[in-house]
Symmetry: C2
Subunit: 145 residues, 2 copies
DNA sequence: ATGAGTGCAAAGGCTTTGCATTAGG
DNA sequence: CCTAATGCAAAGCCTTTGCACTCAT
């Protein structure tokens, strides 16, 4: 996935919602792309000191509303944000219970397909309209072991 | 799972950690058992008006530390708590994006086994020490559709 | 020009904590 | 008895919001 492609996609998503792709928003998206995995607001601010905290919070709301960013809530104190799966592909999260770090991983298409099938079956029985699923692997990361 | 059994197990967990199973804690556990699925603190307080908010927060911390209760964080404003899987069995969550409600479901052992296998493989490659996994089905519940 | 976006500071709201009181063992 | 637990109120902390200023179109 090239840099310009991602940027174009974000631009398109914003345009659809009559939102501007300002320099602050570009810097924010750039920061999210630099981090490997979901990032907290403090991490984002540390990565780009030119960003203002309140604008980052506000722009992450906007970017999430247009479908460019996903907010991830763990048991850590801070919420985390990453580029949406539409831009990066479907994946899951490794969550470290020691340091809070979150990183991405993907299942094989075969496993993912079977999981989907099982979940659709559950949803049907519960009369639940599925929007998606979330699968996290919880444990201790390599750095913390 | 009978009432007394659950209570005995909680009592044992607390005793191991040199914690008392006071009347407040018994009422809290009773409230958690009455609700079907993870509950927020406001829901717990509404269910048992005799409980004090700060004690509930504190006791949920204790009960979680001894492994009797699990805290679940969603995108809702409130955290949710339920009896730990050791007491209730392994299960997953249906999360309603409309009302925030969380309810439980289980996968078939076969699907669960294959999922475990796939996750162990991922963990090995990432040198990640697995403590468990979390699988949520996100969508709109029957009541909100 | 003119409304969206920005940045600073203050307010909100869930959760935690201090402290005096009560109760468990 | 004597320490852990409780309850009320106040403080903490992440996040949101008000408001004046700036920038994009």
């Amino acid at each position: 996935m090239s840099t310009d492609t991602t940027d174009d996609e974000v631009a398109a998503l914003l345009r659809t919602a009559d939102q501007r792709y300002t320099s602050g928003r570009r810097r924010l998206v750039a920061a999210l792309r630099r981090g490997d995995g979901p990032m907290t607001i403090p991490q984002i601010l540390e990565l780009d000191g030119a960003l203002a905290q309140s604008s980052v919070y506000r722009n992450l709301v906007v970017l999430e509303e247009v479908g460019a960013v996903t907010r991830i809530v763990t048991r850590d104190d801070f919420a985390r944000y990453e580029l949406a799966e539409d831009l990066t592909g479907h994946h899951h999260h490794l969550i470290c219970t020691s340091c809070g770090q979150v990183s991405d991983f993907a299942l094989t298409p075969a496993v993912e397909a079977e999981l989907d099938k099982a979940l659709r079956s559950v949803a049907r029985r519960s009369r639940f309209a599925v929007e998606g699923h979330r699968l996290d692997l919880v444990g201790v990361c390599a750095d913390c072991r």
